[in-house]
Amino acid sequence: MKRRNLLLAGVSLLVLWYLLAMLVNRPILPTPMAVLIALWHELTRGNLLAHFMASFWRVIASTLLAVLTAAPAGLMLGQSKWLNDLFSPVIYLLYPIPKVVLVPIVLLFFGVGDLPKVIIIFLILFFQILVLVRDSAAGLRPELIQSVRSLGAGRRALFRYVYLPASLPAVLTALRQSVGTAVAVLYVAELFATQRGLGYYIYLNGSTLFNYPAMYGGVLMMSLLGLGLYFGVDLLERRLCPWKLAA
């Protein structure tokens, strides 16, 4: 995608927003200008930045945790038919459950603070990465494995030179697919049992303080969080998987 087109799309959306705000003409839909001014105010003098960082940290921590646990587990399942036969029915049942319905349960068990939020996002990412890495490891052609083994590679070298690089794109694809859901569920999770995070901030300004421009500012920041993570994954993919661009 061209950068110019992206910019054009962004400006068009702002114009559309502006026209809608003019048309609706009620406090529940402020103009982009009013929101941007409120956003600036909240970022510099309010504590929106702290709320943003709280949400950001939760996503990053759970992502790291999910990659570090799900990628090795997926690699193991993908290499061993026996392990996969054992676990795949469990995964088959758990994978499609919308993890957002687990929010109340996780909150009950882990109470207030960051941990329950991190766990919820972790659960979403974990299954996605697990399944994609498993399938990519299982999908490696036996001829490729045999031919690398014929070069002298044992289990460790196969892991280092074949399985590890082969699972990298799967991890990134899984992140790309689920980072949006993760941010959405984070929002829901932050409505409960916390006073930090964008979810709390948006809810507080919208339903208690009735500060609509500030609320919209929070929504913008949440969108930026999702967008930024998505771009981040894109950037990593371009850095780490140059052959995908070349093909």
Partner: protein
């Protein structure tokens, strides 16, 4: 160099492909293994590569029974076996990287091996200098197979095993690579075993030809073809006669 002493091999639940089968390959020979599909010719190569194991009898290379892939054996397969995420240069370096990873332990790399990543001469010899930083997905089938050959030769093998290496290439590319293989065979003093279903390829590359038939294979049917590796053999009368003979024998089995 290779001794098969009354070996038996069967896949689980299938009748044996080889039964009490014996065969010998001397150092420096160029062999072609010819047969129709399902005759066990690829299996034979995988046995020689140490990727599958005989159920009875003995398979010895250089006098010692084979229990795992041998560092001095190179294997080339039909679909190249290249890493799609690595450039041509990185793919050619792969075998050396694996050796450097383990060090000269005698099982993954020969004892006395000195770690190196020197592949430049091989890239040049195989005409890959212009594509070193491309990925396998970006180059032609012939270039991919050259990459696989360079990767194997960089390990300085004494035994080269090839499983239908040129079957998916177009005719001019195939003939070019067959000539190149014969040059390399002479240059590097290789022992070469090439598995093929193509009568023409067997006639051109095999000084000696092992014919496999319906399983179980019990005796080695061998046809001598001493002219094979000579220049312009392809245009000779001997070549045409050899192809006819092989065709007849293949129909009988």
């Amino acid at each position: 160099m290779i001794e098969l002493d009354r070996i038996t091999f069967a896949y689980p639940g299938a009748k044996p492909l080889f039964q009490d089968f014996s065969w010998q390959v001397n150092r420096g020979e160029a062999w072609a293994v010819l047969g129709t599909s399902g005759c066990g010719k690829s299996t034979l190569l995988y046995l020689l590569a140490g990727l599958r194991f005989v159920q009875s009898g003995q398979l010895r290379i250089d006098g010692s029974p084979l229990t795992r892939p041998r560092p001095q054996t190179g294997l080339i397969i039909q679909d190249y076996g290249l890493l799609p995420w690595a450039t041509v240069r990185q793919n050619v370096e792969l075998g050396l990287r694996v050796r450097n990873f383990y060090g000269p332990d005698g099982t993954h790399a020969p004892r006395g091996y000195k770690p190196s990543l020197e592949v430049e001469p091989w890239l040049e010899r195989l005409g890959l200098s212009s594509v070193v930083s491309q990925y396998p997905g970006q180059i032609s089938g012939g270039q991919r197979q050259r990459t696989a050959i360079a990767r194997t030769l960089a390990l300085q093998p004494d035994l080269m095993l090839m499983d239908e290496p040129f079957s998916s290439l177009d005719a001019p590319t195939r003939e070019g690579l067959q000539r190149l293989m014969l040059e390399l065979w002479a240059e590097q003093a290789l022992t070469m075993v090439i598995v093929t279903h193509s009568i023409e390829e067997a006639a051109v590359l095999g000084q000696r030809i092992l014919l496999l038939g319906k399983s179980p294979n019990q005796t080695a049917q061998i046809i001598d073809n001493p002219g094979a590796t000579a220049d312009h053999f392809r245009e000779s009368e001997t070549y045409s006669r050899m192809c006819r003979l092989l065709r007849e024998r293949l129909e009988e089995t």
